[in-house]
Amino acid sequence: MTVHIPSALQSYTAQQREIEVTAATVAEALSELNRRYPGFRFRIVTEQDTVRPHMRIFVNETQTFQLNASIQQEDHVYIVCALSGG
């Protein structure tokens, strides 16, 4: 699937805005991105495996807070910096 990277995290991905990964869950996709770009995951997900307060993850058009949410190879995963009041 394609993971869409917000501008705040593109310093990790050599400014790439879209990354192709193979994964069965959101958690696996984030782990793969963290393997390629060390430190990437912890900026989004806490040590308790919860999505950070001002970050959001969408699978296609559906928001999810479940890292074990299933994803298909044709899906798009969007990592979004929330519009936190400004």
Partner: protein, 384 residues
Amino acid sequence: MPSSVTATSGAVTLLVGTRKGAFLLRSDGSRRTWRLSAPIFLGHIVHHVVSDPRDRRTILMAASTGHLGPTIFRSTDAGKTWTEATTPPAFPKVPDGEKGRSVGHIFWLTPCHANEPNSWYAGTSPQGLFRSDDGGLTWTPFSYINIDPQYIEWMGTVQDGTPDGPKLHSIIVDPRNPKHLYFGMSGGGVHESTDGGKTFKTLIQGLDVVEGFDRSTPTMHDPHCIRMCPGYPDRLYQQNHCGIYRIDRPSNEWVRIGRNMPKKVGDIGFPMVVHPRHADIAWVFPMDGGTVWPRVSPDGKPAAYVTKNAGKSWSRQDKGFPRSNAWWTVKRQAMTGDAHDPAGLYIGTTQGEVWASRNEGAAWTCIARHLPEIYSVEAALLGR
């Protein structure tokens, strides 16, 4: 009081952490002219930038952003290039269904003892204590306090801490003994270990708390800034939510020396600085802590206050500062000094100005303005 600390000389670099990134301010050898760097990690919330006096090249930076989680950036070339910690401070993962803690931001950085090169301590919000033994690349929880039920209770909740979250700060290492440690928690009191963190005990005797609360309960204590005198490590000073204090070990009782401040200024504030060699000399930067806690300079007239007799009396030092209508103050980590003779003093303001004194506070000059809100200022002697 005799001191074994020798005076330094040469160019000083100020490491400035702000709400919108970090900056380096480099002086000439006389500390008369200063050159401001470009912003470093512009937009990042930088709570603390600290150099390593053991190699004079390594700098660690505690950073986060409005959206992204906390991390630590590390430079090993005096700030030219930076790399990110591979394992930033993080609490242990708890089993599914249990409520665990997550580091919101890293607030405080302290190099470990001179005999422990590449080792650092970090304090966080929510309150936690962490250590790195590889120069800041990987961090692990330090000691038992992060998971100890008694400490968790003393740390309180978000509502018990400062507006930006409770903070573990003022991590101090005794230069004579790497196992002798202090730290402060806002709120949660002052704590001391003499066995390298295997055990800690409270050090809150003599400290006042907000009227009506129980001073025997560590949760009620709010140390703002604790400093150990480099030339006399048995003496510590403290700016607390409830006054200014001194303790001379082995005594376990803090003495409120802020009672000797002018009544209309009071003894509330956040930062405290001690002289690099003379343990009787210390500075504070008072803040209006009345009514609703405006957190500005009292009456809009900023000034440092110095004691030269361990707190028996205080003198106002405001030469060079605005005479009125200056509604800023200085945060906990935003006042520091160098070890020159005479010692330099430096403050960073909530309105983005850096002020310097080359003569121990006798006169102040603004050396940078229009920066973002300043969270921390540390003075360093960086190698070339």
